[in-house]
């Protein structure tokens, strides 16, 4: 081709780019969630598969339909962000969730949590958490129905109590406890459902389908940190704060509190700290800001767990801290060069 007559493309530098763009970031997060999904399938069986599929499909469908018929804008489902929101929402639900509840959750997450604010990047709150919290408030019984029908847990429950096939989560047990001999009952409960720190870590206990296995979540988290999708600041400061406060709470009142490592390993702490609080859109820009954000999440989580009405507070804590992100970004600025 003649160099002289070539029609060139003109733009402003930089003219080369970093290949890890929005689409790839979203895809990598989904990839990082696969170990947790696999663990969910093993522990809850086909129930988990149903929840995951309905969650992802309904979220993508919600985004496509709202954008096409309500907003009349270009579809953005190709960037995987809707699929990720649906997946995160599904992982935050119990295995027994009915399909219609998941659809309502997806619609709220995508419609109110994300598109109402102007789409990807504009939302102040984590969309998946908006969906989950809406469901938690709207359907409190369904959202804490830990009954199972298949998988590893069903086998386990059959041995303990073949009629109900359900068990409280450790945090739920503590919050609902009304007896007098806390320590003995706790040990009794732990033994009957084979709960110890190993089983909590690996994930063979009851809970939302994605939050059970800290091992799988840590694997995903390590992958994301390696790929530089997330920074270590928020997970470390979040989990560290929860650890410190739970330790203090235990030594202040060992008679009615869980051991600190049970606080860490049960509930949605790791799922929240690694995958939800680190959501780029709703976390601060700067290193210091992220540390503050993580500590804030940890403090709020423990306040809710110890004194609140709900057994678990990770979702509320992250949503509450999301409110402060713009303020953190205004007041915590990076150090300018030469100032």
């Amino acid at each position: 081709m003649e160099t002289k007559d070539k029609k060139w493309i003109v733009g402003q530098g930089s003219h080369i780019y970093f290949p890890q763009d929005t689409r790839i970031i979203m895809f990598q997060v989904i990839l990082a969630l696969l170990p947790a999904c696999a663990m969910a399938l093993y522990v809850f069986g086909m129930d988990a598969l149903k929840v995951l599929l309905v969650g992802v499909i309904s979220a993508v469908a919600a985004e496509a339909l709202i954008q096409k018929y309500l907003m009349k804008t270009a579809l953005t489902i190709n960037d995987y962000s809707a699929a990720l929101t649906g997946l995160l929402l599904a992982l935050n639900l119990p295995a027994s969730s009915p399909w219609w509840m998941i659809c309502i959750g997806s619609l709220i997450a995508i419609g109110i949590g994300k598109l109402a604010y102007g789409g990807l990047g504009q939302n102040p709150f984590n969309p998946a958490l908006v969906g989950r919290v809406a469901l938690l408030i709207g359907f409190p019984a369904l959202m804490t129905n830990w009954s199972v029908t298949g998988g590893y847990l069903a086998e386990l429950y059959r041995k303990v109590n073949p009629e109900t096939l359900t068990a409280a989560t450790p945090l739920g047990f503590v919050k609902a406890y009304s007896g007098t001999n806390f320590s003995a009952d706790l040990v009794n409960y732990f033994n009957s459902y084979k709960i110890n720190w190993e089983s909590l870590f690996v994930g063979t206990t009851s809970g939302s389908i994605g939050e059970i296995s800290e091992l799988a979540l840590l694997l995903g988290g390590a992958y994301l940190i390696y790929k530089k999708v997330i920074n270590w600041e928020i997970p470390v400061s979040f989990i560290g704060t929860v650890g410190l406060i739970s330790m203090a709470a235990y030594y202040a009142n060992p008679q009615a509190t869980l051991l600190p490592h049970y606080h860490l390993l049960s509930g949605g702490l790791f799922l929240g700290a690694i995958f939800m609080a680190t959501d780029m859109v709703t976390s601060p820009f700067t290193f210091k800001g992220r540390i503050i954000f993580g500590i804030g999440c940890g403090v709020l989580t423990m306040l809710i767990r110890l004194y609140g009405g709900y057994p678990e507070g990770v979702s509320f804590a992250i949503l509450l801290m999301n409110i402060f992100v713009p303020i953190i970004d205004i007041y915590i600025k990076p150090k300018r060069f030469g100032v």
């Binding site: 002289k4 070539k6 060139w8 003109v10 402003q12 530098g13 930089s14 990047g121 700067t286």
Partner: protein
Amino acid sequence: MASELKTFSQGGIHVDDRKYSHESPIEKLPASKLLVIPTSQHIGAPAKVVVAKDQAVKIGQIIAEKAGFISANIVSPASGVVKAIEARMSPTGFKQECIVIENDMKDEYFEAVTDIAPSPEAIEKYDPASAVKQVEKAGIVGMGGAAFPTSVKLSPPPDTKIDTIILNGVECEPYLTADARIMIEDADKIAAGLALIMKIFSKNGPVKGYIGIEANKPDSIQKMSEAAAKYKDIQVVSLALKYPQGGEKQLINAITGRSVPSGKLPGSVGCVVQNVATAAAIFDAAVNNKPLIERVVTVTGLGVKTPKNLLVRFGVMFTELIDYCGGITEDAAMLICGGPMMGKALQTSEVPVTKAVSGILVLNHSEANLYEEAPCIRCGRCVDVCPMGLQPGMINKVIEAGEYEKLEELAIMDCIECGSCNYICAGHERLVQKIKIGKIKLQEILKARKEKEAREKAKAETKAAPQDKPGESK
């Protein structure tokens, strides 16, 4: 050499360096028949044309004189006849006044030149008093790409005390290899040039010399170290690979640990930074009376068939250089003057090589950033990579909302437009382009504010004089 490589303190990105032409030696491109010389090849006021049409000129004859303090002379790169003085496309992307010279291929010099080889003895013997004049006469400007007039840099205000001279051999822009090749092939001249600059500044006290080179060029480091060993107080510093290490402020920070304050020049921390090619040119001009008539240009990118380093006369068209390298490939997409991070995209290859052209880059469709903008997902990587500690994402939002007054608080004027944020952006947002617009708007606002203040001051003064205005009574 320290075991841990030095680098600047904050921000920066790690770019795949893609130095395709690093192994190919510098080739001399024959001067062409017609040479087009823009009168504005440097930062500052365009030079004033002092030749007329049909006038005969020789190599080194000044054809356009510096106009103003920050400006540089333009010398004829060939002997021949001035064919025209007219507006033509220049590598800035705009039309500029150009002097067109028809080359008679005789290569006659206007003034006699010598051929003293670079050596410590030659520097020892040289009297630096006339050096700055010589540099000014030869029309030397910074050859790293910014093209700041060198004579201005060599004569700082009398109250600044310079104790460190840094030669910039970093070449942190990916693709470009011109400086690396010069350091391999002309190390002695560069070292002598640095010694000469140090001699110019040493009248106010001892001066140290550093040559900063990134660690991805071990052969350049080796050659430069050998050459520098002959001189006192010159040290070659091997630097970790990080963009934008070649930025003046970043390089000073990397080598000396000093931070140039916001809005100040390197002189405020006692440093002067020169490009390695400039140092060689300074030696030639000062010792051998050779004018600046040619430079090394890297022609590279996957859109060029065979990437090369070429020694080119000023005024030769880009088209000739690209065709000398085998022409462009089928999927060539962008033509860039300079490096891929800060270079200028051009719409035609019919522009001449000037003093500021460090490379000609032809990117193909897979390399070039041809994405449309997608929404910002607040990943915050732009904040992490900004070497000046700014918040490009925030600046982007403010500019999109049109709230230009807020830009002052966000210190947008500190931006060095290195393109790191633009490179890393997950949404492929055109951050540098927006920042450029923002800078213009902010300058307008600041100017308007100043004018308003001046007006109010004048008003207050007239009010202060009471009997001037009888209508003021109500």
